[in-house]
Symmetry: C2
Subunit: 172 residues, 2 copies
């Protein structure tokens, strides 16, 4: 079948997206690197853990929530563990399992870094969006995520490595 190219309108939107996401990731990474000594992803690891029951999550569940590979998470947690922000524990219900636990030190670090991070995100993104645009943004992004990882007929399948299938049992 012949390629359906992007329309001029779509192409402009796509270019704008690519540019914006590059700039945004860069700005956020720098701010967090400066004020918290870690890149955005690592901060997000702490953020997700902080909201989990018991501040703990199994590696696979955490990777799935973050939409990253297990390998990438392994390295992130190893680094954060060296920093004392996270601790690894064995999983009681599955002896293969590992649970990442947010330490008190990690919690403190997160709380210290949060204001600056939120401020950056706010000024770069939300300060100039209307309420409707915020809603649109969410809708659009949910659609993209669904298209990529959604069950049913997969539109785009990034990799078998990304573990999106739900696991059976509970995670603790």
């Amino acid at each position: 079948m012949t390629t359906r190219w992007l329309t001029a309108e779509e192409q402009r939107a796509w270019r704008a997206y690519v540019a914006a996401s590059l700039l945004l990731e860069d700005a956020i990474d720098r701010q967090l690197q400066r004020e918290a000594g870690m890149p955005h992803l690592y901060y997000t690891v702490l953020a997700f853990l902080s909201e989990a029951p018991g501040r703990r999550l199994r590696m696979t569940d955490l990777a799935e929530a973050l939409k990253i590979t297990r390998s990438r998470l392994t390295y992130a947690v190893t680094r954060l563990e060296k920093d004392g922000a996270v601790r690894r524990e064995e999983c009681a219900s599955d002896r293969r399992g590992t649970v990442a636990v947010l330490t008190d030190e990690g919690t403190a670090l997160l709380e210290r870094a949060a204001p600056g991070h939120v401020d950056t995100v706010r000024r770069a993104v939300f300060d100039h969006l209307t309420a409707e645009q915020v809603e649109q943004l969410e809708r659009i992004c949910l659609g993209v995520a669904e298209a990529i990882q959604g069950d049913g007929p997969p539109a785009v399948r990034p990799s078998d490595e990304l573990p999106w299938r739900r696991r059976s049992g509970p995670s603790g």
Copy 2:
């Protein structure tokens, strides 16, 4: 001043964005790695060059257009040069300058890879967006880019390294 936290609505939008951009970059990188042997950024380098007059651009101009650091571009071009997709030439008007030129081989590679790439982008993003959403997406992204790099009172300043100031003379 006390932190202005994100509202629940904003937080949902932000999380959706972070997840979607991670999934999207991952999907695109894999597709291009598989079918063109290079990550998304490198493909974009070729794409920008292909549209420039004479298929050539000075390093700094290219880095500015791509919204990446010169250092990052240096490595990308070095790799692409090894692949034969790009060639470096001296800049006539400024002996410090380097011009990146898209080779015929690079052009062919780009043309071979484009359909698969467009298809991935289309299925992940545009196939499920309305025309208004496409327009909103562009507007939102332009706003973000403007907020980060815009002249005037800088809302977020990622780094002095990113060369956003216009240079004086022409680039060829």
